[in-house]
Structure formats: C-alpha cells, structure tokens
Symmetry: C2
Subunit: 158 residues, 2 copies
Amino acid sequence: MIKPDKPTTHAERERFQKFIKKMGLRLTRERMDLLDGIKKQTGHFSVDELVQRLKERRYRVSRDTVYRNLSLLMEAGVLQTSYKSGRDTLYEVKSGRPHHDHLFCRHCGRVVEFVDKRIEKAQQAIARKKGFKIESHSHQLVGVCQKCQKTNRQFMNR
Amino acid sequence: MIKPDKPTTHAERERFQKFIKKMGLRLTRERMDLLDGIKKQTGHFSVDELVQRLKERRYRVSRDTVYRNLSLLMEAGVLQTSYKSGRDTLYEVKSGRPHHDHLFCRHCGRVVEFVDKRIEKAQQAIARKKGFKIESHSHQLVGVCQKCQKTNRQFMNR
DNA sequence: CTTCATGCAAAAGATTTGCAAGTTC
DNA sequence: GAACTTGCAAATCTTTTGCATGAAG
C-alpha cells in the first residue's frame, strides 16, 4: 500500500525557489529539505508525524521550522490541509491528483475518501458568486460507518 | 441583528431528558441549564464564549461541565459543530434551519455562510453508497475574499 | 553588515484528567 | 449507599513566541 518514493523534480524545486524569492523570503537549506522531504510523503499526517518521518529520512528540520513554514508551503502549493482530527490538523502533499474529501466514522475513526464532481463544481460556482478566490477547501462528513452501525452503539460521556 | 430569546419548549426539555435516561446518564441541574442556556444562543460560538454567555444569563455551569457534556449535547441534537477556526472549534445550536457551510477568508477572517442544495444531495448520495449514516458535516472553502484580493496581498511568514 | 531564519526553551491556549465533595437514583 | 457528576486545579497536547546565534543577501 506504500507508494514508491516520488522525489522532487528539478522543475518543482525551481518553482518553489522562485516562489520564495517572489515572497522576499530567504532560500535556506531547511526550506529545501522541507520541500524534498514532504514530496516523499503519502497520505495524511500531522505536523508531529511529519517531523518524525522527516527525521527518519535524515532531513534535519526542527518542529518549529515546520510550523513556521506551514503557510509558506501551503501558499506555494506544496502542502494542503487535509482535515482536522481531534486535536491536530492533518496535512497532505498537494499533488495533481483530484481533491478528495472525507467520510469520518466517529465511532472507529475510519476515514474514507471520496471525490464528487458535482460538489467540486458547485463549490466553484458559489465562490464565484461570493467573489472569493478559493485556495483550498475541507469537507468532511461525520457519521457512523456500516460496520459500527451493526455493532452495539454505546454513548460515551468521557 | 440579535434575535429574540427562543426559550426551550416543554417538548424539547422532555426529549432531552428522555435521551439522557436512555443513555443511562443522570439528570442534573447543570445539564438542564445547559439545554436551556444553549437554546437561547444564536450564531457561532466557542466553548469559551458559550461559558461567558451562559454566565451572563445566570446559568451556572462550569467550563469543565460544558466540555464534559459536549458530546452528549451533540448526540442529543442540541448542538452541532459549526467549523474550526484557528485554535478552537466553533459550535452552534442545531435548529431546523438548513445546514449552512462556510467560505472563510484567510486574510481578514471573514466568514460567509452558504447553502447549496446540489451539495447536500450529493453528500447524501455518497454516504448511501459508502454505507455511512451521516450525523453532521463540515464544509469550508478557504480563500481570499473580494475586498482582500484588491488590497495589496502580502504573505506573512509569522 | 543588515535582515531574516533557525533551534531552543518557555509561553500560550484549548481540552482533558485526577481527585474530593456533592448529587442522583 | 453505590455510581455518576461536578468544580477545582493540575496535566496534556498542539501551536506560537522570545531570544540568542547563525546564515542569506
């Protein structure tokens, strides 16, 4: 289920560097490490998980630097918010693959991805009507999955 | 712009009490105060704001109790998550009024609500297909509003 | 050599938990 | 009376910030 490494291409690097320059920011080893390291990620991850994964792959970037560069990475189109899960926000690599939204089982925590053209289109229409320029979106349906519906459902107050 | 108080009806109280019983939980003054106090709220609010508002209206419920009863209130259909804003989660009274989703300007923080029948329908279809029983959803479009697009847009790293 | 970025440690802010005392059933 | 709730204070966990040092332009 793990996809092979998809290392940063030359073009991607260049685009990121140009973006940094355009923003009047500085080109640092850490920022390039972030780009390279993140590009190799798959699936959803929290900042903490990302730092762990980067550490395993010998990219040396502190958690603080990740936090401080989050919005840069998102503006540059490298990362995007996936969804918010309990305490922390999950991110994912922004790739060419179509947006996917999430069905979340609040019982077992299972996450199912979905894509729906009608929804994507409707979103565009709404943004246009309201004058917004959309940069990202998050769309989650929260409920109970089939398996958990069958299981005896018990309410937990704490 | 402030709507008149919409006090808890007898039927609502009874339904909530039955729900508590069904869950094998206890009927406490605090829980009833929460129901009554929350029913008078309008708009979006964080737990902190809710506690403030309850305090102003002389409902005596501690913040801890609000937190501990959040999921009860949501399962009982009294409250629902509105959207996550920066650090905290915003809630709103679950009423008969149609779901509304949000356009969020990441520049000025402005929130615009929208409702779209096509989206609502598509969601239902997806849930059905995946076997989920949907209890709530959150749908946010993040971008830049018209006003902020005109303003000189500056990227902030910190 | 000036300004920005990093890492560390400490702070901040939201939510959760341990515990003793008070309530509900 | 046993089990559940509450409020308080302390703990947790994520994210942010202050500061001194180091790197980029």
